[in-house]
Symmetry: D2
Subunit: 363 residues, 4 copies
């Protein structure tokens, strides 16, 4: 369950109802002062219990640092942080052990791990595991910031309602600050209102909705990445697909590029203030697997939460017969709002890793 | 430039105009007889010069095996195969060294490698590097076949013209055989004709078009993959994004899932012939990062070929001034048809790797 | 600080005076019941405070399992275990921050991490980090045992006093049991007495002594390992050199082989009870980087504890001048007795990893 | 069979009697001009046919570069080099397929790879594979040289005859040049003569002898490496044990440290010319897994060549009965002289890799 970068590795551990979830981050540069308050603010953006659109489960995601920090400064050793699991109600799930929930990890996990699988609360497949991942990624975000690189994400779409997209050429830190300060991470507040209405409609219908997150990074130097499997897209996509519920990842014009002509999609090279830039940014800041120096833009599609109250068809594993299932318990009718900082976190881990790697290779 | 799997590693090497391109595949099981004829037939599907829709550059992609095979049987050591570069016309590119081609690797490669970059013919960023990758992946395909797993891909879309999609539940080997036997890899011949017309139109307009490849794998056991960064989607996406020109990757309903409700997207679990299956397959055969046992379905969006004859805006690096560029030379107006076997090849490498890995972990 | 195996990874974390030390072990097979009592007994062999030959620091090394176990059974997810640091007296070390201790990590760590280095108690270079490593390795030992593979180590030498060596051909589990039951891990009790006398002499002289650990594994199948960098010796040596204070590692006849003739060193192949064996075992169970099926035998040389009470020459970093240093605090005058289970632990991790890996590659 | 560094990976491939042996080196810095003549001179030190002490097999080890170099300058892509196998006499080995040679890879390779194993000439276990490894390592040596780091090795011992050791504190480039210029790589010419006599005596007796190589690196900065599995010793030992026939590896005082007292082994810290140095260098330039800035010193023990003309006891696999074996063919009665540049090559790969890695992590 680890992010296995070239310079940085993050071992995420824990199950939804284990003693704790946590992460061990190795390879982070020594001597960096972590802004604990800013980190907590970042984690709060992912934490549940912030409104009707999220689960009622209330847990402050307050990481306890066991190692790697000395008075908040990285000492060069692995940073281990844990978040205790406290508000767990395993009873909710006991009945479900025999009947796998449709479109959940339950069935393949049963095949993979046999009876040993810890299915309580989704076990290690729970989105709760993104809490320590965000803590590690949140440190990476701060480290990138010091290098002049900023990352921000917003909800691009929920249930068909679209936010304004980032301006591919001019997206900047101001946009990110606006989003982060917003309780609901969108650029266009009116679109956000309509999204919340759609989520609430789904909730009342005991159903759920999906959506799209758009993430940008600005301030990147050109030339980070490489050919074939060294491509930055490969690392970023692998990290973003690690987020539960992601079904698609694209860069720049993405699937839209498939319907464009070359003359339309190509980004003309120009000179602005003595720097080489592109006039448009259909590439999303990446050509040949490498950064161009323009804003990096990626999109991740999230499926609707598979846990819904509505009756669903499933099977009883013990009796090997078809049956019906109604899922109780507390679940987000939409995972997208809380996924926004997670997308930022994994993007930060990949970018910091590749920038450190590139630095080592400089002649 | 290597596929860095858990059990299998493939180091791809070479530049478009170097002595050779090639690959070293490590970790392949010993004692497997490679069907050289079938492998060549597979490589021919990727080779250029097959029709108006591909570049006129003519080179039989005939791999020479330097090691790892003894009378066509894997001996357990690294398989090194090379393909000599013969029909190279470096002259075509010399003028371009100073003026980076828009939406090509030229500009970031210049930043990354400085003057040392071998820009001839795209250097190591050339799609020619997919030839040895296909040779390695072609062996993996044969190894999977022996395990009852088959992989097939087709053109899902070019320039907005759509092929019939795979049936997510019933796609099978017969579909793959039909496509592979077809000169132009589509399920619906009429759609294929219209695609060829669009490609020809683009070619005449000195322009290019993009498209989408859909790839499926059948015969997979359930439970291959794992949580977070262990997810099979991460490995597959990383491998597919390694193919030049890919801008998006999705599984099952992909970006479409973002607009669905949970009750619509969830795949009901059912029992058929004593096996647990899903009624629909919006998941594309993957939930919780693991195979469900249903067909695995992925889509990859390709941008239009950036090399177009039309005049384009660019810059002269030596003079640091804006200029215009017309690209000469031989280029596919659409990379999608030749990308179809490449998608199969990288999918095969990932699946073989993860199946071997899972076997080692079985208690 | 992680053991980065092919199938198993163990991230060890913590500093001597941090909140905790611990480990996250990924890739362990699911469904294995950990014998907690046996594990604790194993850890007790490493724990301090067992006699005059070890430091007076008293801490039960009782791992707290945060994840990966459900009622003591591995659930397939990462096993995180922590050991709280309680009996830390940082005051002992404060004076030392400016004056690096000779032959300690202090000076290079200062260069590497700058002022951020957590030097308290040796920080992450402390032998205390071998406690969680032993916990992870102790689980691997149990997993190997179930596969019929047993590992045992003893003190081969301390301060020039030699224990009986393992019989290279006939070493067996009975030997290991005898050693483990012994408070002082030797085969020859009289030799053990003399070793203890030497340690006590060194202690009284405010000095320290080194020694050699010999470790054996029996029950291994032939054919585990491979050529060049795939060799089992490489993995084992890397793991054993990870133990603090190791200065040499050898297999079978080791450095003695350098003085033998081929006719003397070669192990004749013979048939015993229908199995192919070797008559002698100068190879230590490894030829061509692979197991032969005979007992695996390795030796690790440990330097004398660098922390000694005697006055030593060092430098003041702040004043950049030469000075004298007397180290106070509690230190083992010999690390070798407590290193015995650590050698077993890392050997177990490597062997389990390579056996799982080999299984995945079986045709 | 690949060196799997943090920044550099070298995939070595080939079998003794395959079309070729070779290597693909990834991650080498771009823009470095390889001195081809110096590289060939380095490879000649390993090549056979240089005197009575080496096999009569005559093959110029002339690497052909297929990729990664443009007019001898690294372009940033993988460097693929191959060395064709020409002078192979497979007939010599055919009779041996059924009767494994004692202390060779034959028997475990048969178990591991089954009938698919390419046993001709030792297959992939042949020392011939060290030729491409030396070519890759030879480039690393040149890259280190440009960074002011020099590596040199000599024969420390053959058949009990000892060369003068390196001066642990003052060893320098002059020593290395003297050795490299010498046809027989020793510091003390008279000792070299006696070693040659011992080798010749063994040859006449159809026997073989072993020995020890000592390797040093000077010009290293302090602080390269890290705690536990990050230790430089681990990487170096893994690489040195990858050389066929190595049975032991040690650093500094090595196994001798086991018999020393702390007061004797500890290296006092001193100031010389404003730099912090150690008065002695029992540590061999490594404490806490990190370089101290003093000369790095390692020793590798080589077993006597297992291929000897004398009759040996072995078994017939087909008949499963004990038998006698006489090995014909051309074999070095001592591998140590040719192993000297191989030790330098692998040391160079590890040091370049870790230096690049450390650079990326610098704050």
């Amino acid at each position: 369950m680890r992010f296995n970068g070239r310079c940085i590795q993050v071992s995420v551990f824990g199950q939804s109802h284990a003693e704790a979830v946590g992460a061990v981050a190795e390879g982070l540069p020594a001597g960096f002062r972590v802004d604990r308050e800013a980190l907590q603010a970042f984690l709060n953006r992912r934490a549940p219990g912030q409104g009707k659109h999220t689960t009622a489960r209330k847990e402050a995601d307050r990481p306890e640092f066991l190692s790697g920090l000395l008075e908040d400064v990285t000492c060069g050793g692995p940073v281990c942080l844990i978040i205790r699991n406290t508000d767990t109600r395993s009873g909710d799930y006991e009945a479900l052990q025999d009947i796998p929930r449709p479109s959940h990890a339950d069935w393949p996990a049963r095949v993979k791990y046999g009876g040993a699988h810890d299915g309580r609360g989704g076990g290690m497949f729970s989105a709760r595991l993104t809490a320590p991942l965000c803590a590690a990624g949140g440190i990476a975000l701060q480290m990138l910031e010091k290098r002049g690189i900023r990352i921000g994400a917003h909800i691009a779409e929920i249930a068909g309602v679209r936010d304004d997209p980032f301006d591919p050429v001019n997206v900047c830190e101001t946009d990110f600050r606006r989003i982060a300060e917003n309780g609901f991470p969108v650029l266009n507040a009116a679109a956000g209102e309509r999204m919340l209405e759609e989520i609430e409609k789904a909730r009342l219908a005991e159903d759920s909705v999906g959506g799209i997150v758009e993430c940008a990074a600005v301030g990147l130097p050109a030339g980070i990445g490489g050919p074939l499997f060294e491509g930055l897209e490969s690392d970023l996509a692998a990290a973003v697909f690690a987020i539960p519920a992601v079904r698609g990842v694209s860069f720049g014009s993405g699937f839209g590029a498939a319907e464009m002509r070359g003359s339309e999609h190509n980004d003309a090279l120009r000179i602005r203030d003595g720097r080489i830039v592109t006039e448009t940014n259909h590439a999303g800041g990446l050509t040949g697997g490498m950064t161009t120096g323009m804003p990096l833009l990626l999109r991740a599609a999230f499926k609707p939460t598979p846990s819904i109250g509505k009756a669903q068809k499933s099977v009883s594993l013990s009796r090997m017969e078809e049956t019906e299932l109604r899922i109780r318990g507390r679940h987000d009718p939409c995972v997208v709002p809380r996924a926004v900082p997670v997308a930022e976190a994994v993007t930060a881990l990949v970018l910091l890793d590749r920038i450190m790697d590139a630095k080592g290779r400089d002649a």
